[in-house]
Amino acid sequence: MKSSRVFKYGDNVNTDVIYPGKYTYSLLEPEEMARHALEDLDPGFADKVQAGDVIVAGKNFGCGSSREQAASCLKYAGVRAVIAVSFARIFFRNAINQGLPVLSSPEAAEKLEEGDRIEIDFKQGEIRSDRGVFSFPPFPDSVLGILEAGGLIPYTKEKLKKERGTGCRS
């Protein structure tokens, strides 16, 4: 039994449909944010998603605003990873910084279908499914460090215990 269930979407899934702007300045709690995840793309998503599920999408996933909740609401909803043909730049950084793995695999994004069960091997850089095994480029050490720390904030917190950063702080 493969552990993660696939939710499949198309190209250009933008940050407004992942996490609508009307909630962005309300400072909601994680559980509440999770309930609004993907609200304007797939209104039933929050009810269906279970911890460990993955999102598979087309190109330019996460395009649009810089709102980091687009990444964190997915994490809080239990999404284990997002697999896509490609990612918008700020979303990519935000997801890593929230500790949410984002995997670029055009082949997996094309072949995997809604409801498929998959297993992700982050060390080997492999996505295993009944439709085949798909590889993705493994993360560089710097990115892996942030993911392993659980995001940029815990990563920076640890780092600040050892060094103080660059300049200023006179």
């Binding site: 407004d16 609508p20 702007g21 962005t24 300045y25 605003s65 980091e68 730049r89 904030i153 200023c168």
Partner: protein, 417 residues
Amino acid sequence: MGKTFSEKILGRKAGLEVRAGEVVTVSPDYILSHDNTAAIIKEFEKLDISNVACPEKLVIILDHVVPASAEKYAQNHKSIREFVEEQGIPHFYDVNNGICHQVFSEEGFARPGGLILGADSHTTSYGAFGAFSAGIGRSEVASIWATNEIWLRVPETIKIELKGILQPGVFPKDVILKIIGREGADRATYMAVEFGGEAAKNFSMSSRLTLANMAAEMGAKNGYFQADDVTLSWFEGKETENFEIFVSDDDAGFSDILPYDLSSVVPQIACPHTVDNVRPVKEVEGLVFHQGLIGTCTNGRLDDLKQAAAVLKDKRVHPKVRVLVVPASQNIYLEAVKEGVMETLAAAGCLILNPGCGPCLGAHQGILAPGERALSTANRNFRGRMGSRESEIYLASPATVAASAIEGKITDPRKYL
């Protein structure tokens, strides 16, 4: 092979010779945040340190929901004001100043050769001044506040080569919509977009801001015009310390050079629900709409308001349409009042709102009901952005919005100009 603008500027900041694809660690000159500063403070507090590393580098401008429309927004603003006070942050702009990108520019933080990062995707705007500027997320801003550094990948560059002259009734907004429509919403993902070519020098600073702002809608990391005489004359009488002009070498390694002839551009409109779903206005003429929006960081400057006023002078907004006008800053508001632009717009039946982001992001001031259609000068038309997910947003120039407002349906503005 020569170097691009981005290779030079990030190399200078990192103190290294760098090429596209390399990752550098740099300290930004300024870090912008807006109402989301409240959320950034919460992240910063998790770092267990008491003070930001360089208070003078933070620029905080309240603009997204101003003045506060509900208690939760009021609480955010209050916590930001308290943080500013505690940390001794000198560059704070409260709710009476305007949209962050406009205020940041007017206050002279955007300078040639600067490195600016902001917790807003349209931070690309400052490329208009020959700066390298990119949007980042909240955790990253909190982290820079603490460490004064961030890693950035040096981007590859697409050059847009502008030539020819715009025809009457066609505006910079039409040019950038044309480019995004042809190239697609992910054409420049992770890349820099250089707006160059012989016609670039004809673009005013306001026009440059419109194009650099919307480079974000092509997925660009940064979009820019190289500083020239137009830039320098904008800075006349203003402080010009720390200026450094970077220009791509003639033999720089561009990923692509894309020619655009301005003479052939006609009024453009982005249709729902993606910014690259662009057509000539003529093709959707006659479509009724309910709310017009003239303003935003893309098109809320004085020349934009004047464009709209030129069309609406001695005319009336159609009774079935409501038009919201939102000047991008208090300074622009004042200028527009002095020049009679606001009188023209108000007399035509437009509703003038206070400077700020207004209804662009669907938080307050003109939310759309299900089945309603908006025609806006903003930069994004994603589903549900301005309210109901059953509403629609079309994007066009201020002149197109104004002409359409008179007729109550989408209209090519050229017959009014």
